[in-house]
C-alpha cells in the first residue's frame, strides 16, 4: 500500500533524497519547508519522478515558528486526504567553532533542533494517535550518542532529540505510533560541504535507502550508513578518561 507521507525538510540533503525515493516508488508526498519557491520546484521535481502522474503538494512551515505547525499539518491533511507517515529531516547545523563564538546562533540551533522539533513531533503524535497510529521518522544524528569535543553543542541538541524519540517509542508503540530515530554519520550534502571528511562518509541517496527500509519495517533506531552502529557501540563503551584524550 502506498504511504501518505509528510516530509518536513524535503528540499535539501537527506530529506530531498528520501522524498525522491518515496515518490519514485509511488508513495504520496506532501512537502513542508521554509521557502515557498524552493518547495514549488521540489514538488515539481517529485511529480516528474513519480511513476504515475499525480500532483505533489507543499505548504510553508518553518521550524523557527511553532505557531505554524498545526496549520501546516492541517493543510497537509487536507491535501493528502489524511496521512500516515511523517518524516522530519529539517534542522540547523554549524561547526563547534562557530557555535562557540555565536551565542545567538547557538540559541537558535538548540531551539530548532530540540525544542521546536519536539513540539512539532508532539503535534504529529496527537494527529497520528487520533487516526489509530502511523509512523514518525525523525533524523537525529550520531553526534547525539555521547558528549564529544567536535560537537558539544550540536551533539547536545541531537542527544535531547534522540532521548525524546526513544521515550516516545516506548510510550506509544503499543498504541500504534511507530517512532523511528535516524542517526546518520557524515553525509555529503550542502550542510557538510567544505568540512573535512571523516571515514564512512555517505551519499544522501545511500542514507535515504536505509531510512526507507526502516520506515517500511518500523525499525526504532537506524544508523546510516549501518557501519555507524558498530562505531558508536564502541564509542559508547569508552571510559570518560579515554574520551577526554581523543579528538573524536
Amino acid at each position: 500500500m502506498a504511504l501518505k507521507v509528510v516530509v518536513l525538510g524535503g528540499t535539501k540533503g537527506i530529506g530531498r533524497a528520501l522524498a525522491r525515493q518515496l515518490a519514485a516508488r509511488g508513495d504520496q508526498v506532501h512537502l513542508l519547508g521554509r521557502d515557498a519557491e524552493e518547495l514549488a520546484k521540489c514538488a515539481a521535481d517529485l511529480q516528474a519522478r513519480r511513476p504515475s502522474p499525480a500532483p505533489v503538494g507543499f505548504t510553508s512551515c518553518d521550524l523557527e515558528r511553532p505557531e505554524g505547525f498545526a496549520p501546516a499539518l492541517a493543510a497537509a491533511d487536507a491535501a493528502l486526504g489524511g496521512f500516515d507517515t511523517v518524516v522530519v529531516t529539517a534542522g540547523l547545523f554549524a561547526t563547534q567553532a562557530r557555535l562557540q563564538s555565536d551565542r545567538e546562533f547557538t540559541r537558535r540551533l538548540l531551539t530548532v533542533n530540540f525544542a521546536h522539533t519536539v513540539v512539532f513531533c508532539e503535534e504529529v503524535r496527537e494527529y497520528l494517535l487520533a487516526r489509530g497510529g502511523g509512523t514518525l521518522c525523525v533524523v537525529s544524528s550520531v553526534a547525539g550518542e555521547r558528549g564529544r569535543k567536535p560537537v558539544v553543542l550540536y551533539g547536545a541538541s541531537k542527544a535531547g532529540l534522540s532521548a525524546y524519540l526513544e521515550g516516545l517509542d516506548h510510550a506509544f508503540r503499543g498504541a500504534g505510533l511507530r517512532t523511528i530515530c535516524v542517526k546518520p554519520g557524515f553525509v555529503r550534502t550542502s550542510m557538510t560541504d567544505g568540512l573535512p571528511e571523516p571515514p564512512f562518509a555517505a551519499e544522501p541517496e545511500q542514507v535515504a535507502t536505509t531510512v526507507v527500509r526502516a520506515i517500511d519495517r518500523g525499525t526504532p533506531v537506524v544508523y546510516a550508513p549501518p557501519i555507524w552502529a558498530l562505531v558508536m557501540m564502541v564509542i559508547r563503551l569508552l571510559p570518560r578518561a579515554v574520551m577526554r584524550r581523543i579528538g573524536f
Partner: protein, 460 residues
Amino acid sequence: MGNASHLRVAASNPAPERVPAGAERAGSLTGWGRVPVVSGYERRSEDLEAITRDVPLTRGLGRAYGDAALPAAPDRCIANSTLADRILRFDPGTGDIVAEAGVSLDLLYRTLLPRGWFTPVTPGTRFVTLGGMVASDVHGKNHHVDGCFGRHVTGLRLRVADGRIVTCSPTEHPDLFRATVGGMGLTGHILEVAFRLTRVPSPWIFQETQRLPDIDAFIEALKACAATWPMTMGWIDCLSKGRAMGRGVLFRGRWATAGEAPQAFPALGAPIPVPFTFPHGVLGRSTVRLFNEVYYRVPRPRAAVVHPKSFFYPLDVAGHWHRLYGPRGFTQYQCVLPASGGHGAARRFLEVVTRGSGASFLCVIKDCGAEGDGLLSFPKPGISIALDLAMRDDTQALVDQMNERVIAEGGRIYLAKDALTRPEHFRAMESRLDTFLDIRRTWDPQGRIRSAQSVRLFGW
C-alpha cells in the same frame, strides 16, 4: 579570474565557520583521464545560483577527460552542479523537459525510459550532467541522423560573467546560445536546460553486428548502413598494421519495436567498481593486442535484441574504469576527418597512430552528419575516430603528430577529450574560433569565466 578576485571569493563565503573558500582549503582535481592534476576544489550546493556567483567555472560529473573542467591557476575554487538536480517541468504529452544543470543522464534513463522517453542524443556514458552535455555539445551513435545534443536544446538559463542570470535560445540572445552550445562552459554557468525528449517504442535495442577486415571496408560499411540505420558505430583495432589495419566490428541499431522487445524493463544494476588503481602499464601493448584479437574473433550474434546499456554505455559496466590505466592516467584523443579529405583519410590517420608506440585499448569509429550550430561544436561531416592512450613520456609527441595529420586533412579535435593539444594546432583546426572568442569577449570582457583548458588553448 585573477588573484584579487580570488580573495573576494574568500571574503564573501557565506559560511565563515567552514574552511574558507580560498587557498587554505586543500585538494586537487583531475578530469576523467586523471591527468593533469591541478590544485583546487569544488563547492557543492543544491543552490547552484548561489555558488556560481564568484567562481570561474562550473563542473558536473567530471567526465571530461582532460582539463576542460579544471580551474586555471591561480583559481582554485569551482562550482559543482551535481546537487542541483531537479526536474523542474516535464510534459508527458510532448516530452518537453526543463531541468537543472546537474541532472544526470543516468537519472533521466532510470526515471523516464521506463515511461517511454529517452534523450534525443546520448554520449557513450550516462554519468554526465545536462550542463556538461550542452557545454560539450555531445554526440552519439545517431549523429548522422539527429545531430548533437545542442540541436534539441530549446533554451538555457545561464549565469554570465557579470553576475546576471540570462536566458538564451536559438531566438533569444542567439549569439550567446551558439557560443554556449559546445562552448565548454566558457560563456557562463549553465543553470537550467530545456529540451525535448524522444518517444521510443520500447526500452530495448535491436542490434546487428558485422566483422570487417580492414579500415577501407569498415568505412564503406559504415557509410552504407547510415542510410538505413538510425544508430551506428564501430570498434577498430588500432594495433594491426598493413592489410588488416583498422579491422573491426561494426554495430548498428535501432529501438526495438514493442513486438520484438521483451516485456520486462531492462534491469538497472549498478556499475561494478574497479577497486583500485592498476599498476602502470597493465594496459600495455601486449594486453591490448590480446584484447583486440579476442574482441575481433569472439563470436557474437549477427542480429539480436540487446540491453540499452550494453548498446549505449558498455564502459559504464565498470565504475572508475579509468583506474585501469594506472597512476599516470590516460588521455583520450578524438578527431573528425572530413569527408572532403577523400577516401584514404582514416587510413592515413591510422598510419600515424600505428607508427607511434602507444597502444589504444579503445578505438571507436563513427560517421558524423552535418555540423551543428554550436560555434565550437565538434562534429562535422566525415569520420570520427576516438582513441584511449595510456599516458607515457611520448604521448605529447604522438598527439602532436596526430594533430598535424588532422590539420592536413581539414579535421578537428573534440575539446571534451583533450588535454594535450597545442594552441597553434587548435587554431589551425578551428575556423570558427575568432567568432566564438568575440562573443565570449562581449559577454565576459574581463575573462572571469575560464578553465585550465581555455587558458592553455586561448590564453584566457
